[in-house]
């Protein structure tokens, strides 16, 4: 039913808007806690900030999730897992990267096994600056992402699909073997 079920009644553009509204209002997130960002998630989920009121629930498997949260520095080993999880998710999928480490390596700018910019390897729709952003920032990021989805700007998954070979080339520069 992901094409327009009633092409005659609902014009195609209208159907795209509905699809975007649906995926905006029910973002199921899978939380890849790579570094120190995991601590920020409980306050966002519990009573003070409660992301569930926007329809965002933590899910256990990438198959069921649309939103991938990368919270913290990304080592080369972790990047391989993140790419695998990202590819197991189903379109349309979005990525939010927490903290300064995925942006430019953060405090590990000089480390030999931390990647400096996540965007080169998987399409990131939303960065949250801060050496671990506070829950308010995370909530704001969620709202900003929902607005982007609505305006159709958050199309990371399309970019991944279109420039797949570039992404793959960058990834293979970091780790030599894929199936290990």
């Amino acid at each position: 039913m992901n094409e327009n079920p009633l092409p005659s009644i609902i014009p195609d553009k209208e159907w795209k808007k509905i699809q975007r509204m649906l995926s905006k209002r029910s973002l199921w997130m899978i939380h890849f806690c790579t570094g120190c960002g995991a601590m920020e998630m409980p306050p966002v989920m519990t009573s003070r900030y409660d992301m569930e009121r926007f329809g965002i629930i933590p899910m256990a498997t990438p198959r069921q999730a649309d939103l991938l949260l990368v919270t913290g520095y990304v080592a080369t080993k972790t990047l391989k897992r993140i790419v695998r999880v990202y590819e197991q998710m189903q379109d349309p999928k979005y990525v939010i990267a927490f903290g300064s480490c995925p942006i430019n390596g953060g405090i590990y700018w000089d480390s030999y096994n931390i990647i400096k910019r996540l965007d080169k390897y998987i399409p990131v729709d939303m960065y949250i600056a801060g050496c671990m952003p506070r829950p308010e920032a995370i909530m704001d990021a969620f709202l900003k992402l929902m607005k982007d989805i609505d305006e159709g700007k958050a199309n990371g998954w399309m970019r991944y699909r279109k420039y797949y070979d570039q992404y793959r080339r960058n990834q293979m520069r970091i780790f030599k073997r894929w199936d290990e």
């Binding site: 000089d110 030999y112 931390i114 400096k116 910019r117 080169k120 399409p123 570039q166 960058n170 030599k176």
Partner: protein, 165 residues
């Protein structure tokens, strides 16, 4: 049996480290590489049956690596550091994993991070770093900033073919 007495029996000169706060007595002694195993066995049989850690120090100026074997005795509540020095060119030493099983893990890490060869330990090779292609990273002469720039900065951005963000 007390640490000093074991040192006297082994004929090693040792120094008592002055440590603030932590009142447990600590002794450090430098041992010849060939005599190390016998010393550890002696300590192990006299109450020092807890092997705390094996660490490696890179004295780049003296061109030497220092391997420190740290033992602890619950009965006497004393710490003993036995250290040996290896040349920096091709550091080679025999494995002591038959004395304490956990030595094997420390040896694997030191091999990966410092490049020290341990004969008899068949599980050396890739341990923590995946697909590592450069010299052991923990050595002082390894320039992480240059490596980071070479490896990560050089990765090109995804050019969207001029489409605006």
């Amino acid at each position: 049996m007390k640490a000093e007495q074991i040192f006297k029996e082994l004929g090693l000169e040792f120094e008592k480290l002055k440590v603030k706060g932590n009142t447990l007595p600590r002794y450090k002694a430098e041992v010849k590489p060939e005599k190390l195993e016998e010393a550890i066995i002696k300590f192990k049989s006299n109450g020092f049956n807890h092997f705390v850690a094996l660490s490696c120090i890179d004295w780049i100026k003296d061109e030497k690596f220092e391997l420190v074997y740290h033992l602890f005795s619950y009965k006497e509540k004393e710490d003993v550091f036995l250290s040996i020095f290896l040349p920096r060119k091709e550091p080679k030493y025999k494995t002591l994993r038959h004395l304490f099983p956990q030595i094997e893990t420390y040896e694997r890490e030191i091999h990966e991070m410092f490049g020290v060869e341990f004969e008899g330990n068949d599980r050396l090779g890739e341990f923590i770093l995946e697909d590592w292609d450069d010299m052991p990273p923990m050595r002082k002469d390894f320039d992480t900033v240059a490596y980071a720039k070479k490896k990560y900065e050089s990765v090109p951005l995804i050019d969207e073919g001029g489409e605006k963000e």
